[in-house]
């Protein structure tokens, strides 16, 4: 279907819905690279005016990627909850934006609405949102998950402790982990990107973290970020896997480039469930996503990268993940050029994921060839924490020496806790208090010289 919008003496024509959505998208380098952006600032403005008038029902029938060609489109269509959608089914995109911002869109109503929202609908409305709107609406949504602790309660912010090491040296991993714990990090997960993908090496790290968590009875979970098929095999061999990890994209072809399909994710979920529930919940999956992965796999079908990203959340949704992490600046300036684009994308991803009912966190990060630095990360951290994000990353000194990029640090999470009074996951906060690492209010205590964690390192690496 063709869409038209007239501004003064110019009539802008958009051949179909995906062209309209792409041209309405705030500028980013990945869409520019794909050749799908508006040709002028006025065309972008016209596209947004036109998109605002599109009825939400249109997104259920005019599919951006054909049903026959893509299993994620099939998942979106086949699992769409018409009853949940009904209260907003009469609205167009612009009206939907106003409704989301209104007091009618309460936390409870937004939770009930989530199964009725498709990724294309949330992507479309996000394109009409200013940054403050993305923060305000996402801040009303709560998505709570659990394994050995409860993540996502109102007024809390968790962290993934990320103690990566370039050669997977267990002493190096433990050194970063122990310091992170003394900063009160690691309630979302202690998650390691392994240098080696060999199942034996991955199993060694999993056992190391399992022993650490068991020995100190830490109410948290571990994850080694290896391919889901590797985790499935490790579970079959009784390796104590807590969370199964997988990177996910928003199209079938892009997921094929990751070596997965929805059936792989189903197997991963079943394998994780077979290990039994955690102490407080049974969310056993850790997903990572990020704008641009579809284009880098040349699998975007002419759909803008932000809409593709929202489709990745649709792929995550059936598997009730504990954590979904949008690794926003990791892909580099070919997709998100600078701090402004990274900040916008981080807010969009959090907004879209939360509206769809996912436990969103963000790796607030950049690479050395991006036009960004720690100042931009400070801004995005402050904005996302204000928006009620479930978790962020804590890596020593914000500098990941294995993946060679910069993220947020142990002290960055302290800063935001001090500023916004956000707490850690309650079970983890209690553990920190029992261990005399933090006070009841969450502030750090001086560590005793005979503190048990000081004796953890030699024995665990012996």
């Amino acid at each position: 279907m063709t869409y038209r919008m007239t501004t003064s003496n110019t009539t802008w024509v958009f051949e179909d819905l995906k062209e309209l959505m792409a041209k309405a998208t705030p500028l980013r380098s990945g869409d520019l690279l794909a050749g799908i952006v508006a040709g002028s600032a006025e065309e972008m403005a016209a596209a947004r005016m036109c998109l605002a008038e599109v009825p939400l029902k249109t997104f259920l029938t005019e599919l951006l990627i054909p049903y026959e060609q893509d299993e994620i489109t099939r998942l979106i269509v086949d699992t769409h909850d018409q009853a949940a959608f009904a209260p907003i089914s009469h609205l167009c995109v612009g009206d939907f934006r106003d409704w989301l911002l209104s007091d009618q869109a309460t936390t409870d109503r937004l939770a009930r609405l989530a199964p009725g929202l498709t990724p294309e609908i949330v992507a479309a409305v996000s394109k009409l949102m200013r940054n403050q709107n993305l923060i305000k609406v996402a801040g009303k949504v709560r998505v709570t998950t659990g394994f050995r602790n409860t993540i996502g309660d109102s007024g809390t912010l968790a962290t993934r402790l990320q103690p990566n090491h370039p050669t997977d040296d267990p002493r190096g991993i433990l050194a970063s982990t122990l310091e992170g714990l003394t900063y009160g990090c690691g309630d979302a997960v202690i998650g390691i990107n392994p240098a080696s993908d060999s199942p034996a090496a991955v199993a060694d790290i999993i056992r190391l973290l399992d022993e650490l968590i068991s020995r100190f009875e830490i109410p948290t979970q571990s994850c080694v970020l290896t391919h889901a098929t590797t985790s499935i095999k490790l579970i079959e061999n009784n390796v104590p896997v807590d969370l199964v990890f997988q990177s996910v994209a928003g199209t079938q072809v892009a997921n094929a480039a990751f070596g997965i399909s929805l059936s792989t994710l189903r197997e991963a979920h079943d394998a994780g469930q077979s290990m039994g529930p955690g102490t407080v919940g049974r969310n056993v999956i850790y997903f990572e996503t990020g704008q641009g992965s579809r284009l880098s796999a040349n699998a975007h079908h002419g759909v803008d990268q932000q809409t593709c990203e929202a489709r990745a959340y649709a792929a995550c949704r059936p598997f009730a993940p504990l954590l979904v992490n949008t690794v926003v600046g990791f892909i580099g300036p070919e997709y998100l050029y600078d701090g402004k684009q990274i900040i916008r994308a981080g807010l969009e991803d959090h907004f879209c994921g939360k509206l769809m009912g996912l436990p969103m966190g963000c790796d607030i990060c950049y690479t050395n060839h991006a036009e960004a630095d720690q100042d931009d990360m400070d801004v995005l951290l402050t904005l996302l924490a204000t928006a009620g994000i479930n978790f962020v990353i804590a890596v020593p000194g914000a500098d990941d020496i294995m993946l060679n990029y910069q993220s947020t640090s142990f002290r960055d999470q302290l800063y935001i806790r001090d500023l916004l009074k956000v707490k850690r996951a309650p079970e983890f906060a209690k553990w920190l208090e029992d261990m005399e690492i933090a006070d009841h209010d969450g502030s750090l205590r001086p560590l005793r010289s005979d503190h048990p964690l000081n004796y953890g390192l030699p024995r665990l690496t012996a």
Binding site: A175, S176, E179, P396, G397, R411, L447
Partner: protein
């Protein structure tokens, strides 16, 4: 600034930065550990060190590859493969 500002700062600075007291093997990792904190934030020295390292990385990223120098060094080494200029580098 008054003349006694400097000694005053010398007196106050060490007590302001909170040191990390967890015992770790410093040789086990190049990760940025033991940086301490000023309140809940990174102390000045650690901020400046990070800034310098990022600046160096940025400069390297923006330095064009010197193919002539690379080829000269390649010629000196016994090597089966020579660097070739592809369309991407032209």
């Amino acid at each position: 600034m008054t003349s006694d500002a400097i000694p005053e700062r010398k007196v106050y600075a060490p007590a302001t930065v909170i040191r990390d007291t967890i015992q770790i093997f410093p040789e086990a990792t190049a990760a940025r550990l033991g940086l301490g904190r000023a309140g809940s934030s990174l102390p000045t020295q650690a901020v400046l060190d990070f800034n310098l390292d990022h600046a160096r990385a940025r400069d390297v990223v923006h330095t064009p590859l010197d193919f002539a120098a690379l080829e000269r060094r390649w010629d000196r080494a016994i090597c089966w493969v020579r660097p070739s200029r592809t369309a991407a580098t032209a």
